[in-house]
Amino acid sequence: MPVRAWRGAVRVAAIAFVAIAATPLRPAADRAPARAGLPPSSLAVWTGKAWREWWRSDEAPDRWRGPHNAVADAVRWRTAADGVEWGELRLAGSGEARRLRAVVVRIDPRLVRLRLDTAFTAGGERAAWTVDDARPDAIMAVNVGQFVRTLPWGWVVLDGHQFLAPGSGPLTTAIAVDSSGAVRWIGPDSVKDASVRRGVVAAFQSYPTLLTADGEIPAPLREPGRGIDVEHRDARLGLGALPDGRLLAVLTRFDALGESLGSIPFGPTIPEFAALMGALGARQAVALDGGISGQMLVRDADGTHTWRGLRKVPMALVVTRKQ
């Protein structure tokens, strides 16, 4: 072998070695087999230097086994208090979701207290909670559950008393806090079982489930015609559980002109939002009332950060310091 060729091979091998070492890990998700799929769309994340596409509807995974590096690394976490961290990331999707921002909050239930607050007008005629009504000691507050007109849909437990009976549906998830402060995720089959509901001090229900307990995306979110509108775009709000037991709250905002148009209900589709929850590391997740209802507050050393909605809601999850 000529010396020049030999040296060339050495260089190629060295570069290849470095390239292999530098290749990021494969996204921790199971690729889905081809099927009569989702409408064409994609999601990119701003890495701080460039847009990086990380999800496509025609290659959407069926299951998330861990966070997607590009998405998870795009969040610069800030500490609001012990047990509460928050950050933002910029996303670019298709159609009305071409410019989005996601507000992401991680909550450690072991270090904080979780409670449900409700608010109605004097005659009970209307729901009346907004982030501006969040109690002064709230570190974080977000609207939860769904509602028809004034009262929350589904199961509601306040201060240990059942206020409203459980609702039913295959894609419902109940989130309950027990007397020790631990959070339980309860599926649609178990929520009517009285023994499962024992010891619960606060609970609410919502839908649709975005990720089941093992990071799997429910079948109705993977293709059209199975009861979930997989095409509609809206501002989204969701709550997830990270493998270490922390909660992950995510609110998407329209981001065309900063926060001034943030409450316009343009955003991802439900499958895209499920992907975002998975890419941020959630192993299970449920959608909350997004659209014009979605609103969130975070208080940190810099002050109070609010992302307002256009509608008053009946109920909110409020995070305070543990007494």
């Binding site: 596409e53 009970g124 009262l151 059942q162 659209g291």
Partner: protein, 319 residues
Amino acid sequence: MSYAYSTRARAFSRRGIAAAVVASLAVPFHGAHAQLGGLVKKAKDRVVEQQVANQVEKRVNRAASNPGAPPKFDDVTLELTNDRVSQIIRGLSAGRAVLDGTNGSPSRATLIAQRDQAANQSADLAQKNSKAIDAYTVKRDESQRCRNDAIHASREKRQQANDQRMKELQAKAMSDPAFREKAIAMAQKMAVAQQKGDTAEVHRLMIELNGGAPESDNVDSLAADKACGSLPAQPAAMVQSEKLNALANKLTESIRQLEQQAAETEVKESKLTERQYQMARERVEAYLSAVKYNAEPGGFSAGERQALGAHRADLEKVM
């Protein structure tokens, strides 16, 4: 270990590494093509990635230039023309009528008043009788603890008796061939009955094999009653307070049902599909909220702004 050995070992190790590197470089001369192919592919990927990034950039910038643009109208998101706004008002008015009780059922306001009355009476009773209720709670907890201990002790005693009985039966089966044959036959019969799902027959065979009916489960409760007495009776005020709470919960559920009925009526009377109506309603709410606070409503076409503006007062009345 001597220093010389160590040096030799290191020298050997270096030679080994050098040989391994040479081997790895020699073998991959073919492999290098594959890796070179990998590099070319990576370069191509980078080009594609850059193209994707450029496309995304264009999309994002386009959004920034026209931030308040209306959504894409389709089968779900309908453009809110004058006619459609009228349809929504018709639906909202019909829904409001349901809430107002014009169809003969109690209005939401009535149900809310009844619910609040029941809840307030319950709270009042609980507050006025707090001493009696607290005393009862302490006594009940004491009694419950005593009963739990007694039930546990009774179960333990029964378990020991059962274990003893089993040992005797096993010993009998070892020493008494007739009993052993009977036990095997019974076990076979039990298996057949179990396969058929005939629990009554399984139970009967168990009793026969054990030589008598087992003690019923309330034996433990009876033992607890004997040791601790019955649970103390709830104070009358507490019973009444709980009844009122149950009534308040029932009325809350009725309010929710009425709201659901009103929502269904709204959709029906609007003549839109449920998804079309819900989307339109949400957009109307967004519009009203924006104009209420003198903000520019984003996400609406010029025609929609005109139609919504013209019907604003009617919408606010029924929303």
